[in-house]
């Protein structure tokens, strides 16, 4: 694994915008960064990332019945008691899951360490599945990269297959919050793939979802029987229509049981069951009241994009990322520093579609905490 500088494709910004990638630059800061790429060997990809991803995914799924049988665990994960039955039902009813992303600290040597699961609303999907794929094809066409170079990125193929095969109601709706251009981009990409898979797909703004006598309805009042929502379950369960989620005849993607796995509390539960696993870091539930000691990271049960994360390095350097996710419990995880390449710290997001590993996307940040402002860099496989 190494970072290699490369000339950006001239005029790539205009091309990006022509294919719906409006958020390549966010608040004048580069988000998509093709001034360099990461190079992996095939063995690094297959042995150190692909295989552990599928194994960890299975370990996480295996925890679901354990959690559902334990009031203590449901409480530790901060699941509101009024929704326990609904979570249980969504799992026992076999409601299908589409995708997820796990984040790893990995430097090319030794086992990748699982930092967290993003199993409810994972993003950076379009950048991974489409734009870095096109980047590789382009750079090969220009002769800037060898034709033998490959990429760990079967995301779009696997998503298309999933949309074709999953038992989803038709028409199937996609929803995101109005104000987020980035989320709309992600949802547009998913809808695009779903359309290619032959699914009758429609968009509705999350705020426009209607309720008629406990049934979710679209703008014309038709029942919504299938809904992809790029909006966290833990938010939905706190909002005005929370009870509609229980009464509505609607199949959600991701299903409600994913709230158990997108929860940072899954990390201590994984550690309890598989202590010493090479891809796991020691992790424990935390009340958030004691001062953190060196070599530990504290994360809220529900947090996104690095928000509200506190970290103290082995040498005692403290980092804290403020944010809006301070209203639930915490976990504490052993600190495993992200590898440094030049001035940047590098995080690997490893995708799962259905139950299969489906590729990686790389994020770089100037700090040890990866945030929403972190840059996205493409990668190749070349031995």
């Amino acid at each position: 694994m190494k970072k290699v500088p490369i000339a950006p494709r001239p005029g790539w910004q205009a091309f990006a915008e022509s294919v719906g990638f409006q958020f390549h630059t966010i608040d004048n800061e580069p988000y998509w960064d093709e001034s360099a790429y990461y190079q992996f060997s095939l063995a690094q990809i297959e042995d150190d990332l692909e295989t552990p991803t599928e194994q960890l995914h299975q370990m996480a799924l295996d925890l679901v019945p354990d959690i559902l049988q334990s009031e203590e665990k449901l409480k530790q994960l901060g699941i509101p008691e009024t929704f326990w039955d609904a979570v249980r039902y969504s799992w026992e009813n076999g409601e299908p899951h589409l995708y997820g992303r796990m984040d790893f600290a990995y430097d090319g040597k030794g086992p990748a360490k699982l930092l967290e699961l993003n199993y409810d609303t994972p993003t950076s999907l379009y950048e991974t599945g489409f734009f870095q794929w096109v980047w590789l094809e382009d750079q090969q066409m220009r002769g800037a990269l060898p034709t033998g170079a490959d990429q760990f990125n079967s995301l779009q193929d696997k998503l298309e297959q999933a949309f074709a095969e999953l038992p989803l109601p038709r028409p199937f709706y996609f929803s995101s919050v109005t104000e987020s251009q980035e989320d709309k981009g992600t949802v547009d990409y998913l809808m695009d793939i779903a359309l290619q898979a032959g699914l009758d797909s429609r968009y509705i703004q999350l705020e426009q979802l209607g309720d008629i006598d406990g049934q979710l309805v679209d703008l014309e009042g038709f029942p919504i029987e299938g809904l992809f929502k790029l909006y966290p379950w833990e938010f939905m369960l706190q909002e005005e229509f929370a009870n509609t989620l229980i009464s509505s005849n609607t199949r959600f993607v991701e299903p409600l049981w994913k709230i158990l796995l997108s929860n940072k509390g899954i990390l201590p539960l994984l550690w309890q069951k598989h202590q010493g696993h090479p891809n796991l870091l020691p992790a424990f539930f935390d009340d958030g009241k004691q001062p953190l000691s060196a070599g530990w990271v504290r994360k809220p049960l529900f947090s996104r994009e690095g928000a509200n994360i506190e970290l103290i390095t082995d040498k005692g350097e403290r980092l804290f990322q403020p944010g809006p996710y301070d209203d639930a419990g915490y976990i504490r995880q052993a600190f495993s520093p992200l590898p440094r390449f030049g001035d940047s710290y590098t995080l690997i997001g490893s995708w799962v579609v259905g139950d299969l590993a489906a590729g990686i996307g790389i994020r770089e940040d100037n700090s040890l905490i990866t945030k929403d402002s972190s840059r996205f860099l493409p990668h190749i496989i070349l031995d």
Binding site: K158, E182, D183
Partner: protein
């Protein structure tokens, strides 16, 4: 043979995010019209060489849909302003409206028969019609539904959403998408998204609800 070893997608194409393709998808004016029949009563329907039993069944379906789709008014005056004096009736209460008293709706003045096959009267051969009905297929079929007449235009049959259908009884051509019945109930909206707004206020830099 190397193909089998590739770790990346075989293709990564877009059809909908690309603006040029979007135009094609929207397909300007590509919808085929469908033939339907409109009548004031089941008897009139039967007089147009339709099987009386089918007329009765289509009428019954329209009648059942009437209280679901008819436009709602908060008082009788507003309803009569649109449909004429004596042309409105009390609407059945819907669960969420119980607190706010009774509602009014126009009376049903006719019905649209979407799938009935006309047996004669100079119409196309039944076989031919059967084919066009089959071609319409899926969501393009036109449900049987009630029709209304507005105060200022007593000739024209209109759907519950005020789409003019025909100015006389008998067969007519319509675009199926224009006459899909919709529940008249007002949905409550805005029940999701509050957390996003609160948290965006606390962390304006945050650009996504994902992670």
């Amino acid at each position: 043979m190397q193909q089998a070893k590739f770790k990346r997608s075989r293709k990564a194409a877009l059809i909908f995010m690309v603006p040029a393709a979007t135009l094609m998808l929207n397909g300007c004016g590509s919808e085929k019209t469908a033939e339907v029949q409109v009548f004031s009563t089941p008897d009139e329907c039967a007089a147009f060489y339709n099987p009386p039993a089918e007329c009765q069944a289509a009428f019954a379906e329209a009648q059942a849909l009437h209280p679901v789709v008819a436009p709602r008014y908060a008082n009788k005056q507003e309803c009569e302003a649109d449909f004429g004096v004596g042309q409105c009736e009390t609407a059945p209460a819907q669960q969420q409206q119980q607190a706010s008293g009774s509602f009014f709706m126009p009376m049903m003045m006719g019905f649209l028969a979407g799938q009935m096959l006309n047996r004669g009267g100079g119409m196309a051969a039944p076989q031919q019609q059967q084919q066009s009905a089959a071609a319409a297929g899926g969501r393009n079929t036109v449900p049987n539904q009630p029709l209304y007449k507005s105060r200022d235009d007593q000739r024209t049959f209109r759907t519950a959403t005020n789409t003019p259908v025909a100015a006389q009884s008998g067969p007519t051509q319509i675009r199926p998408s224009a006459v899909q019945p919709k529940p008249a109930t007002m949905a409550r909206r805005g029940g999701f998204g509050a957390q996003a707004q609160q948290r965006a206020a606390a962390a304006p830099r945050q650009t996504t609800m994902g992670g």
